[in-house]
């Protein structure tokens, strides 16, 4: 039994003193007759063993650490290289993990994050599956469902705040009173909305974000009760939300109470609100989903005239962002793991090489009585020490890299942009470090144990060439190349996808155009006749600016706002309500197509005569014309959008309004004056100015023009049209950049690994090479020996890598925008680069081999 206690001690100690301690204990046991005395003795022995075993371990650790530090001081280059490599691997993986944890795993910062859902109308497969609801649909769902502790709704909001210095536009949400309490948040100041605020007769109320409170109101505590002007309507400030409150998106700056007038419930298909709910505790998502689907389907079938058949989609708020974003995050984590694996392979190789160099030293220590266990411990201590150095440095790298990676986090999630650093990140880094240290330390350590030490004591003992040892090191290099290939192929495919997307013609000319937004407030600007002078003045003055070749207003520029999709009825082609297809509707001022450089294919542009009193007209896109009148001219035909009948007067080219990499509906353009009371969302607000030179140089002049037309009108979203187009692919760019960095690091590491292996091989084969040269071997033979060795490893690595890369690429398919996962040129380029690595990695060793002087080499033998 006492023997078991001895296992607390280090093995080397046990071997040395175990027998004697057993004997001592046995004798003391004899001297202690009786149960009580024996029990006491056992307690003593236990305490003694625990204390002294820990002390003995600590002794060894101090000893090993001292020894390791001394060894690192002797070869600081080795230690620094190892720490840097470990830091790259650990840093990349920690940063990627933190981001994935933050966006995919960690609960949202709300009280019952796992029970919060968002509800959509589901019109798949013919329509969208994530469609907003109308107030009428929302009210029906709310009354019929029994699964929710609470249900509310919100819609996005963009308001002009005036009377506080510069007029500014604030984005946020209009919410029913249930929403904020459902999230379980308390205001930092003041109160939340109550049911009273939702009634139409109550004074209008608003809650500010912490940021707006600080920035616009200077953190003034007296802001509560203050009346502010939003879109010319007075609102009373009733509260300020805490600093880290983001809902519905991270950009939200202001919240107002959402009110429904009886008229709002009439059009069941006027979809603009997002219902959210807190599921009752204990209910599963599946069950709630089924209930909502039944309720929604039943309701839509009860109203066949007003609604196409629609179900409901119920999504956890936590998971409500695109599959593409999720995939991108997973790809990031996978790529980071690849870097870590390569780093481990490289470190193992470094340590193996070092162990070989130090084999004599180790043999001496063994001969002096150090047991294998001691050497194993020593080796692991060294690798763990290096790993911890790398882990600490890696943590800094991760912190530095997070803001870049964070651009991959979907903006839809109600979270701060850059993840907060928390215990999980630190714990993960520590765990990773430990795993890394063991992973790359274990191979050399095991070898230390297996070696026949006496052989190494012989002077001139030659090893490191041939045999199992080199196979292991070669295997590591092959694995590194294979993983590099996987990363390179992934990078290459995504890069090609990005190029392909960027080559996609957007349907308009993106360069040399300035865009900005002036969202005119209602009710002041509700009527076209009030709006008209503003537009006219701005457009006329802007067109007169030198260097301006065109200017126009539209509801929303391509790539800014999706939505505005209307179902179309075409005269002479009756379709049932559920089967009608949608088109994107935009209201534009004359000259829009010219300013955007959208080609007018036939007919005419919208013009000044198309006013409320004239017949309603429409200009349609080519794909719209083709959809309904395959080979005939659509000019003069009638279509109905909403209740309006419009005559088609022109056909223009298609534009990609949802983004370059997304399919979109055909487009219909209407005159901005038809009807005279266009709903605020559809009223033109985006200005596009076509310029001969640099569009940004026009900004001050255009600003002055808008200011003189209405001094209270804020100007937002000032940017070149090109930026707007590129914004759609910014996620891909960031992803490509990070993958590119990972790929480059992996590549560099693989090259270093290859170089290390080959130069070691050359230096340990110096004598052999000398003999060969003496025997008349050609320089080309010698070159072939080293470079050929490198190429052989590369080829095996390429084959293995390609075999892994292909299935990996198939997982990426949805991100590939039509590039095939077996794209030959990408695989070819990756293979070419791996071969280049092999050549570069073997170049220096090969030159050294060529310089071997036969006489010296043999004399040294």
């Amino acid at each position: 039994m006492y023997r078991a206690l001895l296992y607390l001690y280090p093995a080397s100690w046990r071997n040395e003193y175990g027998q004697e301690m057993l004997a001592v204990f046995a004798q003391r046991r004899q001297a202690c007759p009786g149960f009580f005395a024996a029990a006491l003795l056992w307690l003593e022995a236990l305490a003694d063993a625990i204390y002294n075993a820990a002390a003995a371990h600590l002794d060894l650790l101090t000893q090993d650490l001292k020894y390791a530090f001394r060894a690192f001081r002797r070869s600081p280059g080795f230690a620094l290289a190892a720490i840097a490599i470990a830091a790259l691997g650990i840093g990349a993986t920690t940063a990627a993990f933190t981001l994935v944890d933050y966006t995919l795993i960690r609960p949202l910062p709300f009280a019952h994050s796992d029970r919060l859902v968002r509800l959509y109308q589901d019109r798949s497969p013919t329509g969208p599956s994530l469609l907003e609801a109308s107030p009428g649909v929302y009210r029906a769902w709310k009354q019929a469902s029994a699964s929710f502790e609470s249900m509310g709704a919100y819609r996005s909001l963009s308001v002009n705040l005036t009377g506080q210095g510069e007029p500014i536009t604030l984005d946020g949400a209009s919410l029913t009173n249930e929403v904020l309490p459902m999230l379980g948040v308390q205001p930092a100041l003041g109160r939340l909305f109550t049911p009273k605020d939702d009634s139409d007769s109550a004074p209008a109320t608003a809650i500010l974000s912490y940021g707006v409170w600080q920035r616009v109101f200077g953190g003034d505590l007296a802001v509560l009760g203050r009346v502010i002007d939003l879109y010319d309507t007075p609102y009373t400030v009733i509260g300020v939300m805490p600093k880290a409150f983001y809902f519905p998106t991270r950009e939200a700056q202001i919240w107002t109470a959402m009110r429904f007038r009886p008229a709002d419930f009439e059009d069941l298909d006027d979809t603009y609100i997002y219902p959210v709910g807190l599921m009752k505790a204990g209910l599963t998502l599946t069950r709630v989903r089924a209930e909502m689907r039944t309720i929604a389907t039943r309701f839509s079938l009860q109203h066949p005239k007003e609604l196409p058949p629609s179900g409901a989609t119920t999504v956890l708020l936590r998971d409500d962002f695109s599959e593409q974003s999720k995939l991108m995050l997973k790809v990031l984590l996978g790529a980071a793991l690849c870097v870590l694996l390569i780093a481990c392979g490289n470190l193992a190789n470094l340590l193996l090489a070092r162990a070989m160099v130090r084999r004599r030293e180790l043999a001496v220590r063994t001969a002096l009585g150090a047991g294998r266990e001691r050497l194993l411990r020593q080796t692991l201590t060294e690798s763990l020490l290096l790993a911890f150095g790398g882990g600490a440095l890696g943590l800094f790298l991760a912190l530095a890299g997070l803001p870049l990676f964070a651009k991959l986090a979907p903006a839809r999630l109600p979270l701060a942009e850059v993840p907060t650093v928390d215990g999980r990140m630190l714990a993960f880094a520590a765990l990773l470090t430990l795993a890394t240290g063991i992973l790359f330390g274990v191979a050399p350590a095991v070898r230390v144990c297996r070696r026949d030490q006496t052989r190494d004591l012989h002077e001139g003992g030659r090893s490191g060439v041939g045999g199992r040892r080199e196979r292991l090191r070669s295997g590591l290099v092959i694995a590194e190349i294979a993983i590099s290939i996987v990363l390179l192929v992934g990078f290459g495919l995504l890069a090609r996808s990005l190029w392909r997307i960027q080559e996609t013609a957007p349907g308009f000319r993106a360069d040399h155009a300035l865009t900005l937004r002036t969202a005119l407030p209602t009710p002041r600007y509700a009527d076209t006749r009030v709006r008209e002078p503003f537009y006219r003045r701005v457009l006329e003055d802007v067109r007169r600016l030198p260097g301006v070749t065109g200017a126009a207003y539209t509801t929303a520029l391509p790539m800014t706002n999706i939505g505005g999709i209307w179902t179309v009825e075409v005269e002479g082609q009756p379709e049932e309500l559920g089967h009608r297809r949608g088109a994107c509707l935009r209201f534009v001022t004359p000259g829009y197509f010219a300013a955007m450089n959208i080609p007018l294919l036939s007919g005419r542009d919208v013009d000044e005569r198309d006013s409320d009193s004239a017949p309603y007209i429409a200009v349609v896109s080519q794909s719209f014309a083709r959809r309904y009148w395959a080979n005939q001219s659509p000019i003069g035909r009638h279509i109905k959008l909403g209740a309006m009948d419009r005559t088609i007067v022109g056909v223009v080219g298609d534009v990609r309004f949802r983004g370059l990499d997304r399919e979109n509906e055909p487009q219909v353009y209407a005159s901005w004056k038809q009807p005279k009371d266009v709903a605020p969302w559809y009223a033109p607000k985006d200005l596009v100015v076509r310029a001969a030179g640099d569009p940004m140089q026009l900004v001050p002049a255009v600003r002055r023009i808008v200011q003189s037309a209405d001094p209270n009108q804020p100007i937002t979203d000032v940017q070149p049209l090109k930026t707007l187009v590129n914004a759609g692919t910014s996620g891909r760019r960031v992803q490509l950049l990070t993958l590119g960095i990972f790929g480059a690091v992996a590549f560099l590491l693989a090259a270093v690994g290859m170089h290390g292996l080959l130069s070691f091989a050359v230096s340990s084969r110096t004598q052999e090479i000398g003999v060969r040269i003496a025997l008349g071997a050609h320089r080309t033979n010698i070159l072939g020996l080293t470079v050929g060795g490198g190429l052989r490893l590369a080829v095996i690595g390429i084959i293995a890598g390609a075999a892994i890369a292909y299935p990996a690429a198939r997982l990426l398919q949805t991100l590939l925008a039509g590039v095939r996962p077996d794209d030959f040129s990408t695989f070819g380029a990756a293979a070419g680069m791996a071969l280049a690595i092999a050549l570069v990695g073997s170049a220096l060793p090969a030159m050294r081999a060529l310089r071997v002087d036969a006489a010296t080499a043999i004399r040294n033998e």
């Binding site: 040395e16 301690m21 004997a23 001592v24 004798q27 003694d48 063993a49 002294n52």
Partner: protein, 119 residues
Amino acid sequence: MSNSERPESLLPLPPATLHILISLASDDRHGYAIIQDVAARTDNQLRLRAGTLYRSLQRMLEHGLIVESGERPAPGLDDERRRYYRITPFGEAVARAEARRLAQLVRLARESGFATGKA
């Protein structure tokens, strides 16, 4: 292993170390014998535990205070072979230095009236 150090550099000694040195001053002893001897000298006040004993012995070996003096059969346990430990000249010097240090300490204590006896 290095006794090139000055004896003073190891002071003050842990109590167990000094007791072991005292015990080995008269005779080479094996582990259990040291425990018994220390117990006898201190009227059973100090009973060294096995772990403490061997950890002390290991450190003393490292510092060159003692050496192993070969293995002999253990008395009373004929089949067990035991290691015997012997004090080195360096060990004696260290023990003397520690005794001097303690004596000085006691003298200081007496001068200030903390201990009885001749000042």
